[in-house]
Amino acid sequence: MKKVQLYELKSLYRDSLKIYGYQFGGSEKTVCIVGAIRGNEVQQLYMCSQLVKVLKTLEKRGQMDSKQGIMVVPAVNPYSLNTNTRFWATDNTDINRMFPGYDLGETTQRIAGGFFQEVNDYTYGIHFTSFYLEGNFTPHVRIMKTGYENVEIAKEFGMPYIMLRNPKPYDTTTLNYEWQLWGTQAFSVYTPGTDQIDRAQAREGVNAVLRFLASQGIIRISQDGGYRSRIIEEEELVTVRTNRSGILFFHCKCGDHIREGETVAEIMDAYEGEVIETIQAPCSGRIFYHGSNPLIYSNTAVVKIIRDPQAEYFQQ
């Protein structure tokens, strides 16, 4: 293992901002794995730390290919992790909306640019990331449909789902999107949890990456084959919205199988405690996403369901 400094930005009073990468295996730029780009992505930081720990052991035991190389970057934005702010603290800009960056531009453009220069020529790019909405997802690999995406190879993660997303205008400056434009096969790995660590879910995400690395012959391990992933387009998800605002209680969690008409959540009047809305599943299926904020607005997506008429067979 070699710890390398990928980028440094000097500060007036703080210690310099340093982005570190951990290199394993051979000298080829095969896989780059990136963790926290935002300051509240603690789960994503933790997953990288666990991956570094495992890869260190595998390298010591000689279970790594001598040519293909791996780099793990636990955090691109250590400053915001230390100040507990999601975005760049000075101007509230998101580094994951600044790719491919610009070395003569503003601060976060320079950080994105300096970092991207070091990681834009890997064969595969994996980003542990969080969504812009608060909430939890069923573990999945997400691929942006840029025309360069490779769905077949995403199956090697062995995660329950592969989600295909048609990029919106604001997606076009993310690491995942730019990686693909520059010729890297890019995957975003989602597990439940952002600012709280969920160790069991983190293990799922780390195992998925190890499975992928093993499938490419980069590491040699015996491991379970994971799931035979189901491929879904984001548009296929059935979104369930609130009609009222108030305090939200869920009757289900991510991964649950539900029947049409089953209660998935209730909204209470925030002052008087009465149930003012019962939200029922419009179809049978599996809960893919649910919100996490107990104070909910009206007309807000609280649950997304993968439609599956046979859901009742799986129901426990």
């Binding site: 930005l9 000097k10 500060s11 007036l12 009073y13 999601r86 000075t90 101007d91 509230n92 909306r97 003569l104 531009g105 503003e106 601060t107 976060t108 453009q109 320079r110 812009y132 909405l133 919106k168 205008p169 604001y170 076009t172 400056t173 919205r241 009222r244 605002s245 108030g246 305090i247 925030a270 002052y271 904020n293 104070l295 909910i296 607005y297 009206s298 007309n299 807000t300 997506a301």
Partner: protein, 314 residues
Amino acid sequence: MIQTVAAAPLPAAENYIVKKQRLQPEHLSGREKRISIVTGIHGDELEGQYVCYEIQRRIREHSEALTGIVDIYPALNPLGIDSITRGIPHFDLDMNRIFPGNSEGSMAEYIASEIIEDVRESDLCIDIHASNIFLREIPQVRINEMCADTLVPFAKRLNIDYIWVHGAATVLEATFAHSLNMIGTPVLVVEMGVGMRVTKEYCKELVDGIFVEMKDLGIWQGDVIEPKHPIISTDGEVHYLNAGYAGVFIPTVEHWTSVKKGSKIGEIIDPLNGVIREEIFSDCDGVLFTLREYPVVSEGSLLGRILERNGEQR
């Protein structure tokens, strides 16, 4: 006449409400033209607040001269204005990245779609922004090059100093102005002053220009000024001044002045070591139309923008 443009209930005994003021002649023919003045998409940009007030004050002084409809939307993002937040508090997304919105979407998208529906029949819309808290800007109109043919003639009447025609960018497709321009409602985006402050002089100049537009559209029959001739960015290249070091930026020139190639713009000082870290010089002859207002800088922070102009003095 105050009207509600959009409303949605919030969790704790409050509604998100967007209101507008409509000013119109006492008797309507049904053929009146309409101008919409919109501001407050970003909660920390306040320059438009004084503009909304001043337009109404002048119209009320000579209400007999009003022959069309003036709609004034002072706060598209009232929660942001109240909490000094650029975006809508609780949402991670900038409100100016969710247009044209979606009537079936989240609260913010629903509000955005209602706003678009309300404004879309206008004959002209002025969307007033301030700069952020970091930079001071001269009054200017920013135009996507895709819409330049339609919008530049409007912008020339607005009595601003500068028209910046910029390249198209995918991320800007979800702005309020772009969404309306694409469906045929002309929208001019004004940027001026600095965030969290009101620059009365700039506001009054802009109001003078808005009355010129109103007269041109047949909405106002009173006297108006002769608008000044703005510089257009296509006349010369825009040069960016970025900090090479972290420190405290102290300008040595006034904002909105002519500069020569090699003339000093400011210094980045290091208060801990008591030294100058960097001296900032202009790399062209031109006019300094953007100047940093907030002193603390990181490497890369924008310090100013200069429009290259040869041989002309401001």
